[in-house]
């Protein structure tokens, strides 16, 4: 463990104690409980207790047909609900061989990337809130509200989107949407300076994050870390590039990576990801063709052929996989969601060991967990 604080090995000889962080705690992002074994303020071991937000989505999937499960994925991770919702649609479309019209694909990309930016902005705000700065939270929410307003006009929702449909999207976007999106991109590019001056460059922020919560490289393979946490360890892996889904292979964007694997570079990676998302949105807005927004012929009954299907998308938190076992009927035999936060959270006992109580808060904030996503 490359910790800057020596862990007292013989905990017996010192007075140690257990601290229950959560399930209701300001910085556990919902209802997560960390059983911390502490020596003073140094963490000896962590035992995350999850499941407080379990809503049995997988059981619900086995009791509903494929169409009726549509509102559920966006509730799994409500911060980047659009990506989940559309990811589920794409999974079914591939299983059923439904062709999606060009325009719908572009709309989906724009919606996905706007959602990714809004998710990262929420992360930025709450992370800084965890570090004790309140103001960046509201600046981030200012920008996030702009995205929500744009998406609200076409999707009708602000958080738990149910915009995708098998074969397209619910509602066509109009010119005003595209214009607003383009305007937002221009505006948002000027906001990076603010975030950098106020947050990233700030000496206190750097003190709090540089070298804190380092993910050792072997955690990648052991735990299947994904998303910005992975890219902050120098691995340029992104499902959008590795197994391009939808029309992501048409866009020109980079995968930002950093080497250090600590809280600070995770922040940098996310900031860069927002820049890349803006790039994708701008290309998509420029190239969006006319045409139908939903496939004219979608099978009335969604019955994928018997077999097993896996589809993964890059959510704002990492590799989100949907594993569907079909027995040829209307209802999924088994639907399992591989959520990125679950894997990232599983690393916490290793990462938090030997850090301070304040670092635990910073680390939790920096991996950007969404607790309901872990609990499903």
């Amino acid at each position: 463990m490359a910790s800057r604080f020596d862990v007292v090995q013989d905990a017996e000889s010192r007075d140690t104690y257990y601290l229950n962080m959560g399930p209701q705690h300001p910085s556990t992002h919902g209802v997560l409980r960390l059983k911390l074994h502490l020596d003073g303020e140094t963490i000896l071991s962590v035992d995350p207790v999850i499941g407080y937000g379990h809503r049995a989505h997988e059981k619900m999937a086995e009791n509903r047909d494929y169409l009726q499960f549509l509102p559920n994925p966006s509730r799994v991770d409500y911060i980047s609900g659009m990506i989940y919702n559309i990811g589920y649609c794409q999974a079914i479309e591939r299983a059923m061989g439904i062709e999606v019209p060009e325009r719908a694909e572009y709309i989906r990309v724009i919606a996905n990337e706007l959602n990714r930016i809004s998710s990262h902005l929420l992360w930025l705000g709450t992370f800084l809130l965890d570090l004790g700065a309140f103001t960046p939270f509201l600046y981030a929410f200012d920008d996030r509200e702009k995205i929500l307003d744009i998406l609200d006009r076409v999707t009708g929702s602000r958080l738990t989107y149910c915009y995708g449909r098998f074969g397209g999207v619910t509602l066509d976007v109009d010119d005003l949407f595209l214009q607003q999106t383009a305007e937002f991109c221009t505006h948002f590019k000027t906001r990076f300076a603010l975030y950098e001056e106020l947050v990233i460059d700030n000496v206190i922020f750097q003190e709090r994050t540089v070298g804190v919560g380092v993910f050792e490289p072997d955690l990648i393979q052991k735990y299947g870390v994904s998303g910005p946490c992975l890219r902050a360890m120098g691995q340029a892996n992104d499902v959008r590039k590795d197994e391009p889904y939808g029309i992501y292979d048409r866009f020109d964007f980079d995968i930002p990576t950093q080497m250090a694997g600590d809280c600070f570079v995770r922040s940098l990676v996310r900031m860069d990801e927002m820049r890349q998302s803006v790039r994708i949105v701008e290309q998509a807005v420029k190239d969006i063709p006319d045409g139908p927004f939903i496939a004219p012929k979608v099978p009335k009954r969604i019955r994928p052929a018997e077999g097993e299907y896996h589809f993964c998308v890059e959510s704002a938190r990492g590799n989100f996989g949907i594993y569907i076992v079909s027995d040829g009927s209307d209802i999924p035999f088994r639907l399992k969601m591989r959520t990125p936060s679950f894997a990232n959270m599983a690393t916490m006992p290793d990462v938090m060991k030997g850090t301070l109580l304040s670092d635990a808060v910073a680390i939790l904030g920096s991996i950007d967990i969404v607790v309901p996503e872990i609990d499903r």
Binding site: Q68, P71, N72, R153, S157, T160
Partner: protein, 205 residues
Amino acid sequence: MAFVKDILDGTKTLLTGMKVTLNNFRKPSITSKYPIEKIEMSEAFRNVIVLIEKDDIQSHDCIGCKACERVCPSFCIDVDGERPEGMRRMRATEFKVDFALCSDCGLCLDVCPTDTLGYSKIHDETGYNRSDFVYDLLDPWRDAEGPTVERLRKLEEEQAAAKKARTVKKAAAKKAAAKKAETETSKETTEETPTNKNDAENNDA
């Protein structure tokens, strides 16, 4: 000296941060006084569903087909319908939505065969019980239901009559054409029978 430089650099970043907050201090606020100022909901805004008035029948056009009830993932819609006497068209007799369960997915709108479902613009309803959110969508239409059915019946009769007239006219035209053809070519006259038969069927319906 690195020590002093660190302190100076750090101080500089702190001052930059304070400059940012000062700049924002000078700008006007971007929030609205929500409960005082009403917020306009967007066109597509999803809330509890309502029955939309259709222009041609001046009322909702729910035929109680239960398609929305079947597709609803939250099992929150309760529809019933019956056929008023002497009419072809069904009318809904019950349409209840438990909005406390609704997940705003919009699948009911997708499946509605008559496109009579839409979203209401209410966005800030509160209640003390879950039962406060059970909406009876037929409520605004119930008073006018009698006259509406009468009007619809009349409309249907008119439509049927018009259709009949159309088919009769069509048949007559066909007949005339056939006659014309007959007189012109003086060939077989078997064409008449099927048209007559169609006519009879239409009248029955």
